[in-house]
């Protein structure tokens, strides 16, 4: 064969095996020499199934026959066949290879050409990419949590409530009530036991709220000792009073701080959609004002 063509085949970045009609190896390019550690002299003239035992299966024999007799090309994917040619270092993780089997005819002689593509890195790259995508999805999820949830109590925050309110208002069809809750006596706890203990009390209260909350209810912390409860599908005066009683009930059990029993109460104001306002801000300020009236009564 022409030296130049041989040189080209040896420069290729994939494996090339040329077989004669008896399936004996006639060419084994440099890529394969490096990959397998077997020199061309070692393998030349040997049957392919001796050198590449994984090709000693009925289906490959069938593909070889189809290629020689009918000039049919066969593609075998790594996904279905894993690999064909063993690597020099058998200890390494098994590689993944695609192969392409085809027929070549020069004058009156038929050959089989097998191209071997190592796609191991390919798969690793895809796996890494998937991992990367997953971690960035996780990150954006945690970011979302950060934006919509209060870091101290893990309750939904002001932004969450405002967004939810706006969405409910857009839907129009839905009725809902918004309770504004302000804890009485919280400042005294802060002053007497310190901020850390005050934070602890807020967390304990938040835990009780979480247990209380059902579907279509949102308990959120606006900031400081201000909380809101949003209840969908409910605006009757009767039901509003029941909810207020439930919230007071939440505070009946004393909180234990540094072995002291502390009882806290709340002032609650309520605003209903649509009668008390048609924007989130209006509703919040009505509920806040109602709460303020309650507080002033005390």
């Amino acid at each position: 064969m022409n030296d130049l063509y041989i040189a080209i085949v040896n420069q290729l970045d994939n494996g090339i095996i040329l077989l004669d009609e008896k399936l004996n190896i006639q060419l084994w390019n440099k890529w394969l020499v490096k990959y397998t550690g077997k020199s061309e002299e070692e393998v030349k003239g040997l049957p392919i199934t001796t050198v590449v035992p994984r090709l000693d299966k009925k289906i490959y024999a069938y593909m070889f026959e189809k290629a020689l007799l009918d000039e049919q090309k066969s593609f075998c994917s790594a996904a279905m066949h894993q690999y064909f040619v063993e690597r020099k270092c058998a200890k390494m993780k098994p590689p993944r290879q695609n192969i392409l089997i085809q027929h070549i005819q020069v004058e009156h002689t038929s050959y089989l050409m097998i191209e071997v593509y190592d796609v191991s890195n390919h798969f690793k790259r895809i796996q890494n990419l998937n991992k990367h995508i997953k971690s960035s999805v996780d990150f954006s999820k945690s970011l979302e949590h950060f934006v919509y949830y209060d870091s101290l109590t893990n309750l939904p925050n002001r932004k969450f409530v405002l967004d939810r309110l706006e969405r409910l208002i857009e839907e129009e069809a839905k009725l809902f009530s918004l309770f504004f809750i302000d804890l009485n006596g919280f400042k005294a706890v802060n002053d007497q036991y310190g901020h850390l203990q005050g934070d602890l009390l807020l967390q304990m209260f938040a835990e009780r709220c979480k247990h209380f909350t059902q579907k279509q209810e949102v308990f959120a912390r606006l900031g400081g000792d201000e909380f809101v409860l949003l209840v969908e599908h409910m605006t009757t005066a009767n039901a509003v009073e029941q909810y207020k009683a439930k919230i007071h009930e939440l505070l009946r059990e004393p909180f234990i701080i540094e072995e002291h029993q502390i009882v806290i109460s709340a002032s609650i104001g309520c605003a209903c959609f649509p009668q008390d306002g048609t924007t989130a801000r209006q509703l919040l300020s009505v509920a806040d004002y109602q709460m303020y009236l309650q507080k002033a009564k005390k």
Partner: protein, 209 residues
């Protein structure tokens, strides 16, 4: 096409597809259940008409197709198309992985394309090989190319190259109790389809003598 012609072609394709299923089952080490194939000769314009109920959702949905062109005298292109949702299932099956339907958004990687390429290669090889021996001529063709078509695109590429006839083959096969529907479309030039029909008639005449 007359019923006799249809019957003959169907039986011939049955043998080709059976051979392909055999190869696939050896590779996957799984029994493959074939369904009774359907075969139809249609004008391209008929492809989109409402009659093709089975076909429409497939052709107009997101599909992966492997396609090859063949021949000079007897010429055309053959496509093996798969609804895209099935690919992930097939790849998982080949890799021996558990298939989960959690991914709502379909995204494909080289692994998926390679699986489709190989399956397409096996099926189209059997069919083109069989067609070649039927025509008593050597059909030249290559390893198929895999293309992902978004909804509606496949039909466009199919109809873009002038008016011709399409031989339609539905093959559905079950692997591990899940139905995988593949459709084989072979688009012929006008002369080629006449040639094919003439061959089929010859066979039918030989039998009646």
């Amino acid at each position: 096409m007359t019923t006799t012609q249809e019957d003959i072609l169907k039986e011939l394709y049955n043998v080709f597809v059976g051979e392909a299923a055999n190869l696939l089952s050896e590779i996957l080490q799984k029994r493959i259940f074939l369904s009774v194939p359907e075969i139809k000769l249609l004008g391209l314009h008929e492809l989109k008409s409402g009659e093709q109920e089975v076909l429409n959702p497939v052709i107009n949905g997101t599909v992966l197709s492997t396609s090859l062109r063949f021949g000079n005298v007897f010429s055309g292109r053959a496509d093996f198309i798969f609804p895209a949702e099935q690919i992930k299932y097939l790849t998982a099956l080949c890799l021996g992985e558990e298939y989960t339907e959690e991914n709502e958004e379909l995204s494909f990687n080289d692994e998926d394309f390679d699986v489709v390429k190989e399956i397409g290669n096996i099926i189209l090889n059997s069919i083109m090989g069989g067609m070649g021996s039927l025509m008593e001529m050597k059909l030249e063709y290559d390893v198929p190319q895999v293309i992902l078509h978004n909804a509606g695109e496949f039909y466009k590429t199919l109809t873009s190259s002038g008016d011709s006839n399409v031989l339609l083959l539905y093959v559905s096969f079950d692997i591990d109790n899940s139905k995988v529907l593949g459709i084989i479309l072979i688009k012929f030039s006008l002369e080629s389809i006449e040639f094919l029909i003439r061959k089929v008639d010859e066979i039918s005449r030989d039998l009646d003598e």
